[in-house]
């Protein structure tokens, strides 16, 4: 009698344990289709995180669902493997199939990739505003800790952080970078390429609505490529990269505008006697002369010292005495502007 009682207690403990680990679920009577979402999903031999890993599959992979145990789906992949996948990361029969992101962790091997061979940054959070933890060359192996649609939490060696999903691949072979998301469809149909332009060469605001009373959500220089979604008489709905908003139609052109001259600060070389002014290698008159500059030569000021400015003149860097530069903002510092009124 005592023996039977103990066996009953053991069975109850086992049942309670199983219930706490595996949510209740019913076997599916019929096959359904599932699509991997949110990164890379592991196919395991058992419906458990301890199940042996058979393979991993990237977002978009279609599998056939043959059954369900708790939150795990029994699946058959297109390459003929069978096993279990966590339901949180499968879109089943067109439904959401559960939430993505936080809460469940999946271990998965992935490789960093980039189409142009540049390193990819690991950041401390899922956004470009987070600090850079490290950067890694394409081909670096990493472990997916938490997959996401746009950002995955990964581990490389002892470092953990976030990396953009588009730069992670389930295979060691570099794959092309995922293109930008498809634009929102506009009422007029397909989008086409346009460029930002302006008469004065200044940049143009992208706004959250079709009026200047709406806030600016971006500022783009002349020549910036955009996608026209809906062209209006006064305002057009466009996309710049991944950012959508409204820009005045008059500042958009279908032909690529001439590349504007790089911005200069409106500064010019001046001298009281009209003689050329030296651009030097160091802020002293004893240093080597890099170039002799005519009066009126445009100057881009990089830094402003008390007596010397560090400037860019026609592609050359160097130092020029402050008194020989008119920067448009402080005429009192200029030796004598009167002979150059026409220039200035």
């Amino acid at each position: 009698m005592m023996k039977r009682k103990n066996i009953a207690i053991i069975l109850m403990v086992l049942m309670l344990t199983a219930a706490s680990v595996l949510p209740a679920g019913n076997a599916l009577a019929e096959n359904r289709t599932g699509v991997v979402k949110g990164g890379w999903l592991i196919l395991r031999a058992e419906p458990s995180f301890n199940g042996a890993i058979r393979a991993s599959y990237p977002s978009g992979t279609t599998v056939t669902i043959t059954g369900q145990i708790g939150s795990w789906y029994a699946v058959t992949t297109q390459d003929g493997l069978t096993g279990y996948m966590l339901g949180d990361y499968l879109q089943v029969g067109g439904s959401s199939g559960g939430s993505t992101g936080t809460g469940t962790f999946i271990d998965s091997t992935a490789y960093i990739t980039s189409a142009n061979g540049l390193n990819v940054r690991m950041r401390s959070g899922p956004g470009k505003g987070y600090s850079v933890v490290a950067s890694y060359a394409p081909g670096t192996q990493c472990t997916i800790i938490s997959p996401g649609n746009n950002w995955c939490r990964i581990q490389v060696g002892s470092y953990t952080g976030y990396m953009m999903t588009q730069f992670l691949s389930g295979t060691a072979v570099p794959v092309p970078v995922t293109p930008a998301p498809a634009p929102m469809p506009g009422p007029s149909g397909s989008e086409y390429t346009v460029y930002v332009t302006s008469r004065n060469g200044n940049g143009v605001n992208l706004r959250s609505g079709p009026s200047k009373s709406y806030t600016s959500i971006g500022f783009y220089s002349v020549g910036t490529q955009a996608a026209m979604i809906t062209k209006g008489t006064t305002w057009s709905y466009i996309r710049v990269g991944n950012r959508y908003g409204y820009m005045m139609t008059e500042f958009l052109t279908e032909s690529q505008p001439a590349v504007p001259t790089p911005y200069v600060s409106g500064a010019y070389v001046v001298s009281a006697n009209g003689r050329n002014v030296n651009l030097r290698a160091a802020p002293t008159t004893q240093s080597a002369v890099i170039r002799s500059c005519k009066v009126g030569t445009p100057v881009t000021i990089i830094t402003r010292g008390v007596d010397w400015y560090f400037v860019l003149i026609d592609g050359a860097y160097g130092y020029m005495m402050r008194q020989f530069i008119y920067d448009g903002s402080a005429p009192a510092t200029v030796t004598d502007l009167s002979p150059y009124a026409g220039i200035l």
Binding site: T102, R123, P126, G127, Y130, T160, G305
Partner: protein, 202 residues
């Protein structure tokens, strides 16, 4: 050993076997909070109030949508996000922005170079511009940040020097000393978002 002790031992073994699940869950909770300490103070400065139930990525997007704008220069490919409180005026100088009250300003200069402008050359030039600059500054994401107090005006000027192999970008922010903490956080965020076509990805 009595049967009760055996039963107790068996139960303990089963519980220990299950334990890793709960340990993982705790670790997971801690790990998902990486980055939270960076974004939370920023979110508190915005109108984004109800973040309960949001993932870190959703919180980040909510903050960026509410508080940040994007700037892009097509010539150099330079991009960054800047506080939405700054508004560029298309009609005047397109590279200078100001807040609605005019108390804070931001200007941007972009220029290409042939690779001859190096960090060392730039450092020497900054020493001339910034009295007392020891050549160290704060560097992150290839951006040197130099802050100076203008005590007479109760203003602060922060210069951001972003140098790549092909281009140089100088962003100057001037803001009231009383708002230093707010702007400092925004500037950290701005620096992290700076990139050009030839900079690292992501």
């Amino acid at each position: 050993m009595s049967r009760f002790r055996l039963l107790f031992l068996f139960t303990m073994i089963v519980m220990l076997a299950v334990c890793p699940f709960s340990v993982n869950a705790e670790n997971s909770t801690e790990e998902t909070e990486q980055g939270l300490e960076e974004i939370q103070p920023l979110i508190e400065m915005t109108d984004v109030k109800d973040t309960e139930g949001m993932s870190l990525e959703e919180m980040t997007d909510a903050f960026a949508d509410a508080a940040m704008c994007e700037y892009m220069d097509s010539v150099t490919g330079f991009r960054m996000q800047y506080p939405a409180t700054f508004q560029f005026n298309e009609g005047t100088n397109g590279l200078t922005a100001a807040t609605a009250d005019g108390k804070a300003t931001m200007s941007i200069e972009n220029m290409e170079h042939d690779g001859s402008l190096t960090r060392e050359i730039l450092m020497e030039a900054i020493k001339l511009e910034v009295p007392g600059f020891d050549g160290k500054g704060t560097e992150a994401n290839n951006c040197l940040r130099v802050t100076r107090n203008e005590e007479q005006d109760k203003m602060i000027q922060t210069d951001l020097y972003y140098l790549t192999e092909k281009s140089f970008h100088h962003i100057i922010l001037r803001y009231p000393s009383a708002e230093e903490e707010t702007y400092s956080s925004y500037i950290d965020y701005m620096i992290n978002t700076m990139e050009t076509n030839d900079s690292e990805l992501g």
